[in-house]
Symmetry: C2
Subunit: 223 residues, 2 copies
């Protein structure tokens, strides 16, 4: 289980103070698929980054299988990310000087139980573009490389920030099916931020965020 | 009018050849709002970049009000872009070291008939974040700065590549209304690439692309 207890995040820029998260309590259970919805600027990316160990909260605590991440030093947090978490970032964060295949290899080389980069790129429909660089790929193709990179790691926890934002409906469904398959077959605890309503149907729970707070949780019994 | 005649684009990377566009014929009429739909990798961004003077075709010609853009030298093409075209790029292209307001000022300072940057940022709901840098804004907020920058210029032609990809439905509608208003009130010739079905309803015409070709054109009589 991944738990947030009273997590808040306040950014201080000069005299201005922006509260991105205002005291969030949340548990993600092993093998669960949870979708996060909410308006632009409501704190979705901030919450996922903190749960995934990419950012530290201003107050509150985060626990992974009983260990308190918020007490970890930088090195321990890096090991938590490396050994347990896969990310699909909102802006892909691909390495421009590496090909699609090399971007995926970057992660599989240090993963405990990876898929091959060829298989991962095949799953997202990019077998024919593995030796192209990010600048030679369209927006949606770059996003699919980012997804292949996260899936290839076969992590315990998969954090996806708008995984289908740059994709047409058909390509989006291919990608979502790949994420859902990893969750179902491997038991990957999966958190997806999206504005895409079809994704909400796939989830065990849908969590609504607004102005840095959880305002509603919807259980999806049909899954 | 903006016209493409037999426009094709072929990328050569090593031994591999990728045909992004395979002979496209198209006219965008003055004041028209046209939506481009199509799967990931079908050539939408490539077509908009060529029509907007950001890229040159491998073959074929592009005309703006009778002048042949494809005969322009680099300096003349820059003047065409500066004096006539506003862009909302798929990946925003904000300048990281400038605030939201300064990113918009960059364009209004050299525009012929601009809005103020404060007004443009107000239209997209970011009056309260004008002095923040891109890294201090969420994904959707950054996208809205990119839209404000294009609208503020009040250009003859507005090219929008996935303008609502990072936005929730409600915020997306605010932004689309701003684009539609500029088109209606100023007569801005507007081309929008999107996977968002509501946008297609706003358009005079919807153009479907697949594998670098136009496969269908739908006229929307209700507009
Ligand atoms: N520099 C390049 N070198 C090689 N191929 C390229 C290059 N730029 C684009 N392409 C290819 O051209 C095709 C069209 O790309 P384009 O960016 O126009 O697609 P798109 O329709 O905008 O897709 P998306 O919806 O994913 O953004 C894609 O298959 C892409 O990989
Ligand atoms: N470094 C920072 N400095 C100041 N404010 C910040 C910083 N990073 C994020 N914020 C603010 O915190 C709030 C939450 O941001 P977050 O990125 O979590 O939103 P989001 O829900 O992911 O939005 P979107 O759907 O637009 O991606 C936003 O108002 C954002 O502007
Ligand atoms: Mg975000
Ligand atoms: Mg594109």
């Amino acid at each position: 289980t991944l738990e947030a207890r009273g997590v808040s995040k306040v950014y201080q820029t000069g005299a201005l103070e922006v509260t991105a998260l205002g005291g969030v309590d949340l548990s993600l259970f092993e093998g669960e698929l949870v979708v996060f919805l909410g308006p632009s600027g409501s704190g979705k990316s901030t919450l996922l980054n903190i749960l995934g160990g990419l950012d530290r909260p201003s107050a509150g605590a985060v626990y992974f299988r009983g260990d308190e991440l918020t007490q970890f030093d930088d090195h321990a947090l890096t090991l938590y990310r490396r050994d347990h978490v896969g990310f699909v970032f909102q802006f892909y964060n691909l390495v421009a000087s590496l090909t699609a295949r090399e971007n995926v290899d970057l992660v599989t080389e240090i993963a405990i139980n990876p898929m091959s980069s060829d298989d991962a790129l095949g799953v997202v429909g990019l077998s024919h573009r593995m030796d192209h660089f990010p600048a030679e790929l369209s927006g949606g193709e770059q996003q699919r490389v980012a997804i292949a990179r996260a899936i290839a790691k076969q992590p315990d926890i998969l954090m996806c920030d708008e995984p289908t934002g740059a994709l047409d409906i058909k390509t989006g469904i291919t990608v979502l099916q790949a994420i859902e398959q990893t969750n179902r077959e491997l038991g990957t605890t999966t958190a997806i931020i999206t504005h895409n309503a079809t994704v909400a149907n796939m989830a065990d729970r849908v969590i609504l965020l607004a102005d840095g707070h959880i305002i509603e949780v919807i259980e999806n019994s049909s899954r």
